[in-house]
């Protein structure tokens, strides 16, 4: 895997206007997505992970808007593009897979027509006949009998619909796939099948995938790298092994310890105090400090930056790992 950056988010701010004032759903967030990787973006509901995914496509709609920051797809600054240019990027360069595929598929269109449209959108020289043949081949590769492409979306099961969403993204030859909770509506066996498929396709098509999910187990299964988000900011980014086996940020630690693990006997679930903050009036300094068992005075006074903790690739936004408030990490048992 190369470490070439495909998509770069720099100092992104996204705000939603509400009656009670602006809610900063994404706050000064910077993140790189590297070519060929599956980056898992995890966090609890309301942490801004879906907003981030939408902002990356510039599909935030009022009352939300991007306040500032840069979005780079390779060497294109997406923030400078016109709406028309941007809609060319969507679908062609960046594909999206959502939680509920039924909302993304046209119920009046046959599956094959969705695929033919996508294939021909990318390459107008392909005849309808050739596109159809290609579509049949694609669904077969995804484990769906090719004669079923003449069915309508409602005749497909949830897992099959989600495969069609992937097929559409593949048909468009997108560089980046943003998958927002793609397996949340699926049952465990179908979810596992879908994750296997995703892994296989990544190999075959060199896909880059941003996998947005609340499911820590899913991230552990497929991600190469993980970004943990809390209250609009990144708490920690690390390669998947390091994140799970050498967790740094107190929030990530708490989160991972509160996930039931079917493989571990007599696991004591960690019970995190409090609830994620209200983003209309977020806590000062580090937004996690009111719930953090290791918080010191500095944590409520000043916001910690996302800095390298061990090695180059493991970053955490926590004062504990800075020079100013250095404490032995072992104390975070």
């Amino acid at each position: 895997m190369t470490s070439e950056v495909l998509y770069s988010i720099r100092n992104l701010d996204v705000e939603y206007d509400t009656r009670h004032g602006g809610v900063r759903a994404v706050d000064d967030l910077s993140l790189d997505i590297r070519k060929g990787e599956i980056l898992g973006l995890v966090g609890e509901s309301g942490c801004g992970k879906s907003t981030l995914g939408k902002a990356m496509m510039r599909t935030i709609t009022t009352p939300g808007h991007i306040l500032g920051g840069e979005l780079w797809l390779e060497d294109v600054d997406l923030m400078t593009l016109s709406e028309k240019q941007m809609s060319g990027i969507r679908g062609n360069e960046i594909g999206m897979v959502f939680q509920d595929p039924m909302t993304s598929l046209n119920p009046l269109m046959k599956i094959v027509d969705h695929l033919v449209e996508a294939i021909r959108a990318h390459n107008k020289n392909v005849s309808e006949q050739a596109a159809r043949a290609r579509a049949m081949e694609m669904v077969k590769d995804l484990g769906i009998r090719s004669e079923r492409i003449d069915d309508y979306p409602h005749q497909f099961s949830g897992g099959m619909r989600q495969r069609i969403m992937i097929a559409l993204v593949l048909a468009l030859n997108a560089k980046l796939v943003i998958a927002d909770e793609p397996t949340t509506a699926l049952d465990v066996i179908v979810e596992a099948q879908f994750l296997d498929l995703l892994r296989g396709l990544r190999q075959e098509f060199e896909l880059t995938i941003l996998l947005i999910t609340h499911n820590i187990g899913v991230v552990a299964e497929v991600a190469d790298r993980v970004a943990v988000m809390y209250a609009g900011r990144l708490a920690e980014t690390a390669p998947v092994e390091a994140l799970f086996l050498d967790t740094k940020h107190p929030y990530s630690r708490g989160l991972l310890k509160s996930v039931p693990n079917i493989d571990v006997d007599h696991q004591e679930l960690y019970k995190m105090e409090g609830a994620p903050p209200n983003l209309i009036a977020p806590p000062s300094g580090c937004r996690f400090h009111p719930r953090c068992p290791y918080a010191v005075d500095l944590c409520s006074a000043e916001q910690p930056k996302l800095l390298a903790v061990t090695g180059d690739d493991h970053h955490a936004a926590c004062w504990i790992y800075s020079d100013r408030e250095s404490r032995p990490v072992e104390s975070l048992a």
Binding site: E44, S45, S157, G159, M160, D187, V188, I189, V190, E191, A192, Q193, L195, D196, H214, N215, I216, G217, V218, V219, A220, E221, V240, E241, F244, L245, G254, L255, L256, S258, V259, P260, N261, I262, D263, Q267, L269, Y270, K271, M272, A275, P276
Partner: protein, 348 residues
């Protein structure tokens, strides 16, 4: 736990829902109308003070079983006993009184609460119906007590709050509180923590366990998430297409799963450890339609060990695995006459 009568007992319960068809199709079909076989010959018991987990994929019929236990639905066939009483024989008024002893917690607390009713009033409401002898003040005190028990502290602060003013986790606590106010014996919890965030799920599970001891409760815990059953259940039943395929103590089902479907299901659960690798192959395809379920064992078209001529023909009996009398499986190759065909046995 004493060796008394089980609190809940289901005997060969079936629930079929008719499939709406056109007028002409109705005439043609005669008496053979298509039906969704949501629950198909299900029998089990829940002892007092026990937590029985009921797990399965969507469409397996687990929620329908919950509704049958509460008699929110009448079974097509079979009997449901609550504390020794056949619920099917009760008249409406008797059933209404019985209901105060069984309560339900659903997945979505926002859908279970009236947005225009304060949460204090919402919890007080069942007390008004089922405990008419209490004075207003006594009822209010009951609510305060239950609020404290479920962690809505200070209770007076929460009494006048409306559902939208509190967090999702707190809302689910309100729903649990409302279930507890009539001091029921049984709580049917249908995906009670599925909507909550991970960090909140742990708190709710912990609360449910604590309340079970404090209020001498028995739970039917319905879930699609097998990992959470480990923290709360004493016994576990696995459902597939309307039938229970395996039931046993948590230990038996988790460490020694016998039904191929149970094994597949357990293996498919995502594990929060990047070093983990799956232990069993995934079954092919997806759960078929319950309108025309496969003949014989419902799982046979997806089963890695299915034997032609047996599994696709006969419905397997529900039998004890080896000498573990509490561990029952419905699989031709694991118990009963055909067990010598079991590939596991041949390997051994």
């Amino acid at each position: 736990m004493t060796d008394q009568e089980p609190l809940v007992k289901l005997e060969h319960v079936e629930k079929f829902f008719p499939v709406p068809t056109g007028f002409v199709a109705n005439l043609r079909a005669g008496s053979e109308k298509p039906a969704v076989r949501a629950v198909d010959d299900v029998s089990f018991e829940i002892k007092r003070g026990e937590v029985l987990g009921l797990a399965g994929e969507s469409g397996s019929g687990k929620s329908t079983v919950g509704r049958l236990v509460l008699r929110l639905l009448d079974p097509t066939a079979g009997k449901v006993f609550f504390d020794g009483v056949d619920l099917g024989t009760l008249k409406a008024e008797q059933m209404r009184q019985m209901r105060s002893r069984m309560q339900v917690v659903f997945q979505d607390p926002m859908a279970s609460l009236n947005p225009r009713m304060s949460i204090g009033k919402a919890v007080e409401h069942p007390a008004q119906i089922h405990m008419p002898d209490l004075t207003r003040q006594q009822r209010r005190d009951e609510v305060y007590e239950i609020f404290s028990a479920v962690g809505l502290d200070p209770p007076k602060f929460f009494y006048d709050k409306f559902p939208h003013q509190i967090s999702g986790g707190q809302r689910q606590r309100v729903v649990i509180a409302r279930g507890l106010i009539t001091r029921p014996d049984l709580i049917v919890a249908d995906e009670p923590i599925a909507m909550a965030d991970v960090s909140v799920q742990a708190l709710l599970l912990d609360l449910m366990l604590r309340l079970k001891d404090e209020f001498d409760l028995t739970y039917l815990f319905i879930t699609h998430d097998l990992a959470t059953t480990k923290y709360i259940c004493d016994r576990l039943a696995i459902m597939y297409l309307g039938r229970i395929v395996e039931i046993g103590s948590l230990q038996e089902v988790f460490t020694n799963p016998q039904h191929p479907y149970t094994r597949a299901l357990l293996s498919a659960v995502p594990v929060p450890d990047p070093r983990h690798r799956r232990t069993a192959p995934l079954p092919r395809g997806e759960i078929p339609s319950p309108i025309n379920p496969p003949a014989g064992c419902h799982f046979h078209p997806r089963c890695p060990i299915a034997q032609e001529g047996i599994c696709d023909v006969e419905v397997p009996e529900f039998l004890a695995y080896k000498d573990e009398t509490s561990h029952l499986i419905s699989c031709h190759l694991r118990t009963g006459a055909y067990q010598n065909l079991d590939p596991d046995r041949q390997l051994a």
